[in-house]
Symmetry: C2
Amino acid sequence: MLSSLAALRRAAPALRRAASSSPTAYTYARHGHPSTVITASTAAAPSSPSSDQVAVSFLAAGVDAGDVAAVLGVDGGAGKAPFPRVAGHGGVAVVTAVGAGVKGLKAGDYVVPAKAGLGTWRHAAVVSSADVLAVPKSVPLEAAATLTSGAATALRLLSDFGALAAGDTVVQSGGESAVGSAVVQLAAARGMKTVTFVKESADYASTVERLKSAGGDVVVSETYASSSGMREIFADMGAPKLALNGTGGKVATELARALAPGGTLVTYGSATPGLTVPASALTGKDLTLRGFSMERWLGRASRADAEGMVAALADAGVASPSVSKVKFGNLLDVLGNVRAGGGGYVAVMPEGERLMM
Amino acid sequence: MLSSLAALRRAAPALRRAASSSPTAYTYARHGHPSTVITASTAAAPSSPSSDQVAVSFLAAGVDAGDVAAVLGVDGGAGKAPFPRVAGHGGVAVVTAVGAGVKGLKAGDYVVPAKAGLGTWRHAAVVSSADVLAVPKSVPLEAAATLTSGAATALRLLSDFGALAAGDTVVQSGGESAVGSAVVQLAAARGMKTVTFVKESADYASTVERLKSAGGDVVVSETYASSSGMREIFADMGAPKLALNGTGGKVATELARALAPGGTLVTYGSATPGLTVPASALTGKDLTLRGFSMERWLGRASRADAEGMVAALADAGVASPSVSKVKFGNLLDVLGNVRAGGGGYVAVMPEGERLMM
C-alpha cells in the first residue's frame, strides 16, 4: 500500500494531464491506479428524488489515503457500490430536495455520508435518505467534509476500546493526520493526557505547535519515541492504557512498549504497513491488539448511534483539521501528494467556495 | 529466546558434566544460562509445616521451555521467589503432613502448584497451603506434572477468548506440544472442530497420528498451512473464530489469514518469536490479537477458580501429553533438548517411579 502511494506520487504529472477542466464527478469502472482508472466526468445528476430519497449538492469532499485505497481496491472492500462508481468517502452536502416519504431531513440541511463509499467526489447526487446524516452548520466545512475519516474516527478510538477516564494517558502515532489532531482535541476535552508522535516532515515544527495549541501534553518526533527520555516522560505521566497506531512501521513497536499491562493497541486506517510486536508484549503484559475501520463501524451502526456521534462531535466543537483546500476541478492534481497518516485535502465545490467566503 | 534455546542445545555436554549423581533439588541464585547457574543440591527440606503450611513430597516434575525461560529470566518475571530459588514450574506431589490450621488438604492427597515458580525440581518441600491445589488421583502422573503448563493452558485458551460453541472451528500452531494435544482433546469433547499445524520434525508422522486419535479433525504440517488446499479446507469447515499461536514465526500469519472476521488470535508461551500481522487483517477483518500467560492467570485467579479448573480437567479425563520420562537425577541431561512448542519432559522422582509401575 505504501509502495502504491509512492508510485502514485511519481505518477502525479500523468494525473495532471488527465484532469478535465470542468468535471462534475470523478468515477471509476474498475479497481486500479487512480491515474489509470479515474475518469473526470460531466454527467448530470438524476433530477428528482423518489419517495425515500434526497437530492444533495456537495459543498466539499475529503481527499485522503483511504479514498486512494478504495480506488486501488486495497481497503477491504468497504465501498461496494456497483461499477462504475463515484469515488470519495468523505464530504458535506446541502439538501436541495427531499422525497415525499423522507422524515427528519429538509431542503437546506447539511448532511454527511452515513456509509462508506457514498461517492462524494461529485457536484450533486440523489441518494437514499438512509445514506446521509444531518450535520449542524456550526461544524466548519473542512471538519464536516472529513468528519467520518477524521474526528469521527478519533471519537470512536477514544470511546470504544476500554473505559478511559480523566487523568488517563493515551499515546498515538500519526499525530499529523486529521485523526491525530482530533484525538488530541477530544482527549483534552475529556481531561485525558496525550503523548503524540509526529513524523519529521518539512512542516514538523508547525504541526507540533498546532497539536500543542489543541491541548496536546507531549508532542515529539517519531525518532524520539524510542529514547530513554521518553521512558521518563511515561513514568511521570503514567503508562498509557490505550495506544493508537495510525501510521504503522517501527513506531508501532514503541507504542506497544509504552503501554501499561493490560493495555490496548488499536491500528486504524487502510494504508498502514504490517505490525510487528514481540510475543512477550502479548503474553508478559497481557496486551490486546485491535483494528478499527470507520467504514466497518458505519456499516453496522444503527442510525441513532451514527446520529448521536455526529451530534457529539458538533457539541465538542470539533476543530478543522490541517488539510489543504483545492478546487474540485483540480482534485486529481493533488492525489499524488496524498499519503498515509497525513497529507489530506478538502476539495471545494463552487458552491462551497461561496459558503466559505 | 529461540537462540538461547539453540545455544542451550549446543551446551548439552557441559550440562551433563555438571549433573550430580543423586541431587534432591536443582536451584539457581541468579538468572542466566541453565548450564552456568543451576546447581544440583542435596540439601534436606525443612522438617515440619507450621500452621498454614503443608509438607509435600514430589512424585514428578515438568521440564519444558517455560522452565528454561524462567531460569534465563526471559519469562516476564512470573517466578519471583527470592534467590536462591528452586527451579521448575510444573509438578505433582503427595502431601506428607499438614499444619494445624490447614483445611481442605490432608496427608496422602495429591497436589499441583497453584502459582508460578513454586519450585518443583526437588524431592520435598514445605510450602504455604495456598500455593497448592488438590488434584484427583485419576489424573495420569504425566498429565498432573504438566497440568498448569499443558492442559490447564489449553482449557483457558478455549474458554476465555470468546464464546465458542459446538460446531465452531479452532485453528492452532504448535500441535506437537502438551498444550496443542490438550486443545485437540478438549475441543473434541466440546464438539468443536480443530485444524492443527505441526512442525515437520523426525516424529512428525507419529504426532499426526496421535493428534488424530485424540480427536483432531485436520492435522497438517506448517508448510501446508499456506497452501491453496488449506483455503478449501477452511471453506468446508467454516472459518475459525479462534486461532492459537503456540510457536510464532511465519505460521502465525497464516493463522491470522484463516480467521473469520471478528476472530481472535491468541499468542501464548514464553518462547515464541515476534508476531507480524498485516494491518489490513486488523482493520479489514476486525481481528483481535491477545496474549495469554498461564503464570499470570494463576497469579490473579481466585482459589475457587483455580480449584474449579483442576476439577474440570480431571472430569474431562485429560490425557497424558506426549512427554519423555527421565529420572530426576538425570534432569539436567535433557535440558538441552527442550524446545519451544514441544520437546517436553517429565522428571520422575524415586517415589513417582514406584507409583507408575
